[in-house]
Symmetry: C2
């Protein structure tokens, strides 16, 4: 059950494969193929359901029309959604997507990059793991079209698309202050990922700008990779040590989820005894009662911009660097409420 090749069409049409190729690639006019012949070929191709062999084409042209998508975890809500839009958008340009998850593990990331090179992908969308700098640099120097996503490497100027982590957290802090919260805590992770640092910085900057205090004892770092139980118990301890606490900001959604559990476990009411706000949206935040206020990433825009930047690179090898920082959106739900101003 072999497929129909250009030769089969050529034979049946009584012309050379070259002619068929010209016509099928829309170069009939340019190559001065008569309308008669053109039409005959087009008809035959349709009738035989000719499908160009992308392998042969790729081998000859050096383009596979395939892009590699490296994410932290494709099963994660954020990345799964990005993967979906990326696939849809890429499809519009005739590209297919090969994907892989790094689990934020350097070795896995290296493996993925290698396989994608084998596969001759035309371009890369990468969520870099820690210490992937060297590999990114190599890729950059080989002039492969590439866009980083969700994170960037401060030392290497490259294309990237990400949310404005600083602004998002800044807005979160301002919102809490505006509502009248006064004893505000922050929970983050020990991970050195740049986006976590920026979220931390944005929040503290807003606090400072409004002359609110965020002393070190109001900030808790949960070890990266801690189990749910460990995390929850640490957060509970942290909360217990802060009497009068009225609001908590979590720098990422899984911490926020642990936070919900911790607060409930302590018998406190979310939105009444304590306000919760988290970076990143999540089904759970949306559907929880009360709804959890959060700083949402513009997933669609991120994916669309990633593809746009990549397609730009793919189509014209300008050396211009595209760095897109998209605004985060504060989604107000019932976990934060207007407070009657009381003097502490």
């Amino acid at each position: 059950m072999k497929g129909i090749s250009i030769k089969d069409i050529a034979k049946q049409a009584g012309v050379s494969p070259t002619t068929v190729s010209f016509v099928l690639n829309g170069k009939a006019k340019e190559k001065r193929i008569s309308d008669q012949v053109s039409k005959k070929i087009l008809k035959l191709a349709a009738k035989l359901k000719y499908k160009p062999n992308q392998l042969a084409r790729g081998l000859r042209t050096g383009k596979t029309k395939t892009i590699g998508l490296i994410v932290e975890d494709i099963a994660n809500h954020f990345f799964a959604n990005v993967a979906k839009i990326v696939e849809e958008e890429a499809d519009k340009f005739g590209y297919k997507v090969l994907y892989g998850s790094t689990e934020d593990n350097l070795t896995k990331a290296r493996g993925l990059l290698e396989v994608l090179e084998y596969r001759q992908v035309d371009g890369y969308i990468i969520t870099p793991t820690p210490n992937l700098d060297k590999e990114i640099e190599v890729l950059k120097n080989s002039r492969k079209p590439m866009v980083l996503m969700d994170r960037y490497l401060p030392q290497i100027p490259t294309n990237y698309v990400m949310v404005n982590n600083f602004q998002g957290s800044y807005d979160a802090a301002e919102y809490l202050l505006e509502l009248g919260y006064q004893k505000i805590a922050l929970v983050t992770t020990t991970s050195e990922q740049i986006q976590m640092k920026e979220r931390f910085n944005g929040f503290t900057a807003a606090m400072k700008a409004h002359r609110a205090s965020l002393p070190r004892k109001m900030c808790k770092k949960i070890p990266f990779g801690a189990s749910k139980e460990e995390a929850v118990s640490q957060i509970m301890e942290f909360i217990k040590g802060l009497p009068g606490l009225d609001a908590i900001f979590f720098t990422t959604n899984y911490l926020g989820i642990y936070g919900i559990e911790s607060v409930k476990e302590l018998g406190m009411k979310i939105g009444e005894d304590v306000a919760l706000i988290s970076f990143d949206d999540h089904d759970l935040f949306r559907l929880h009662t009360p709804g959890i206020t959060c700083v949402a990433q513009p997933i669609h825009d991120i994916a669309r911009n990633v593809i746009q930047v990549l397609m730009n690179e793919l189509n014209q090898h300008n050396n211009q660097i595209n760095q897109v920082v998209l605004p985060a959106t504060l989604i107000k739900r019932e976990s934060c409420r207007k407070r009657a101003k009381t003097v502490a």
Copy 2:
């Protein structure tokens, strides 16, 4: 910046490309290449970081070492997780995965199948949309390795891997009865998808087996594709019309989620006023307070079995059909509790 080819190695080693190919494919012994030459070639290949061009190789061998994964929605919790394991498992066999979402739309599914054919994928993993029978039949007749997932087409005998929908729902019903619930309702969708029917059938079968009644008025079908608002309001109406109702079974997780909202909206307490149980697990069910009892699909096993069946087909063209039905697991949480038996 061209890559290193087999010719480059051949030239530097002073041998023919054929020899290099033999050695690099582990056929040195078989093809009687001397150890001397073998070693020299291996060393050179490592030194030059030779990466075989999969395109050329694929063109020659007719194998791309790529499989196509067609799911309903890659952003959906279930499929995203399957996609993750599928990728990991495929990787172990040297395969990469191309994916796409159908949105349960026939036209999209056709488009995906076509693109994957272009791309010469070696095998297909397909979550069939309604009315995809003809295309599946064609694929089957062309003897392409293929496994259906999550659903099957009753009219066409093919490989498939899925959860035991009937048993899962059966267990759910038995569990509710065992706990002493007496006025039990079921919420499903109007979708004619086979798995939904089986879930419905399993539940009713268990009820009948235990001489419990499930009259038609206790069953609600929500239109497929209804918006969240519509669905929630319909479920609310349904519940309001059933005084004394003490438990509700939802045939799929998004209905269960709507159910949670509906029940809360009505001011009822989950697990106290009414028990909820849903087919399919979800982050929300796990993290909700109270936790929502559900019938979970063995996602890992499904993905692993899918790959195993596919690899079987890929490696040996036996015509044997593999149909794997995996048990569903009842995950008990607080949304269903032991009831003091009261006479209605």
